[in-house]
């Protein structure tokens, strides 16, 4: 059977590439810190040595439109072109083409339907930044086949939050029952509190830092009971009008499992939104193709250099961080002529 090599949940900030490839006056002051956090986060996937990536995201009115809107959709294609004209225009995201794993797509579609999820499918899907952002941050080589899964967090009426959790649990079961010797990483991206096109957008922080703090706790602790007890379709309007994207984090909590603490937790408070990064290694095992030590057996690492901002709760329970690597994988192509970066925090009047 296939191995779930890692479960990863992340925000998807479309400006990461632009911010961290800018130079000189155009490079925002937070770019170095952001890049360092992402490179540490990337290592949590690299260590897992995945062969294939299941990628959970949400189309932002690119290919999926209101005349034919699926709630949950699985891509089944040999290739996926990626990123759209308006993402190139606004975020400087490059065009990409990713290979697909049709066998795993077929397995998830068949298994999902048989578990009473009436999944839509697409044999020609151009994916957007909800999936390419984690490719850029976590696997910039873009060298692994993917299975994209889209959820509707965007165009009401939406599925209930519990349905996202149920689908996450089902995805985990289905990957683990896939007759393959491949190592599968399941990666999903969503949002914490977020406002787009409303009065609370582009503030110094996310629109609801208290929601963000609690959300990070829920995710880091695998606290599905606490999360599901408080989060409803109605309640998600309160932290910000685009906060329904949090349901993709709930889906990933379903993948990770009830009560399972994340092995890597990191957050970064940016203008407009808080970034949040989580990695779980199923069964507490250190990833690898065999013969690797468990996380608990890894020797303690020396303390960090001191300039890392405070971590979210549970820091004491985090496993030692992997050693830094000297040679980072290549970045996606630079756009070169992108417009200037957003200013640093504090410019909001």
């Amino acid at each position: 059977m296939a191995t779930v090599a890692a479960v990863i949940a992340s925000t998807h900030h479309p400006f990461y590439l632009k911010a961290t490839t800018s130079t000189g006056d155009e490079r925002p002051p937070f770019a170095d810190e952001w890049q360092a956090r992402i490179e540490t986060f990337r290592e949590t996937l690299t260590r897992a040595e995945p062969d294939v990536l299941v990628m959970v995201g949400s189309d932002h009115f690119h290919q999926l439109w209101l005349d034919n809107m699926p709630q949950f959709l699985v891509g089944k294609a040999p290739y996926y072109d990626a990123n759209w004209y308006n993402e190139e225009r606004e975020f400087g995201l490059p065009r990409m083409t990713l290979a697909g794993d049709e066998e795993l797509s077929q397995h998830l579609l068949r298994g999902g339907l048989d578990r009473d999820f009436d999944l839509a499918f697409s044999n020609e899907l151009r994916i957007d930044h909800s999936i390419t952002c984690p490719i850029i941050t976590l696997r910039p080589e873009a060298d692994l086949p993917i299975v994209p899964i889209y959820t509707n967090i965007f165009a009401p009426p939406l599925p209930q939050p519990k349905r996202f959790v149920q689908l996450g649990k089902a995805i985990r079961e289905m990957v683990e029952s896939w007759e393959s010797d491949k190592r599968v990483a399941i990666i999903g991206t969503g949002h914490l509190s977020l406002e787009l096109g409303g009065p609370r957008q582009f503030g110094e922080h996310g629109p609801d830092p208290e929601f963000d703090r609690r959300a990070v706790e829920w995710i880091a602790n695998g606290d599905l009971e606490g999360c599901c007890g408080e989060v409803t379709l109605d309640s998600l309007h309160l932290p910000g009008n685009a906060t329904h994207g949090f349901m993709d984090f709930m889906l990933m909590m379903g993948v990770a499992g009830e009560g399972v603490k994340a092995d890597h937790v990191d957050t970064l408070d940016l203008f407009h939104t808080m970034e949040a990064y989580f990695t779980w290694y199923p069964d507490g095992s250190s990833p690898g193709r065999g013969g690797f030590e468990t996380v608990a057996e890894r020797p303690p690492q020396p303390p960090e250099e001191g300039e890392r901002p405070p971590q979210p709760p549970e820091e004491g329970e985090r496993p030692p961080q992997p050693p830094e690597e000297g040679e980072r994988p290549p970045q996606p192509p630079e756009e070169g002529e992108r417009p200037p970066q957003p200013p640093e925090e504090g410019e909001r009047s």
Binding site: R89, A155, P157, L196, G198, R200, P339, P343, S349
Partner: protein, 119 residues
């Protein structure tokens, strides 16, 4: 009133670079052309078939011609569509993030619950 048709306008213009420029420079002409030619086209579908019943209300047409993002929000147009298109048209006239911040400040009179965006 049709939130769907407002959204369809924003969506079809936003995804087409030439239409973004046309709408920026000639809002009235673009809205009139769009309603004649595009409002009833079935997107993501083979050509040759059209719907027969989609029409903007007088207020919707006026709001689109005036490029009034505040009123679009109040009418329940999808905020992501409005924001994305308006950034494409007007961010270039401002300093970094100036436009986005002013856009939000123009909506400060609104409080929860926001207008329903369900279509």
């Amino acid at each position: 009133m049709s939130k769907y048709l407002l959204d369809k306008f924003l969506y079809t213009v936003d995804r087409d670079p030439e239409l973004v420029e046309r709408y920026r420079s000639d809002p009235a002409g673009t809205v009139a052309w769009w309603e004649d030619e595009m409002a009833n086209s079935i997107l993501n579908c083979h050509s040759g078939e059209k719907s027969t019943w989609l029409v903007l209300s007088d207020e919707e047409r006026d709001v689109l011609v005036r490029q009034d993002h505040v009123r679009l929000f109040e009418l329940g147009a999808h905020p992501f569509l409005t924001l994305t298109l308006f950034i494409a048209m007007f961010e270039r006239d401002h300093g970094p993030l100036e436009y986005q911040i002013a856009y939000g400040e123009a909506l400060q009179h609104l409080s929860l619950p926001y207008p329903d965006i369900a279509t």
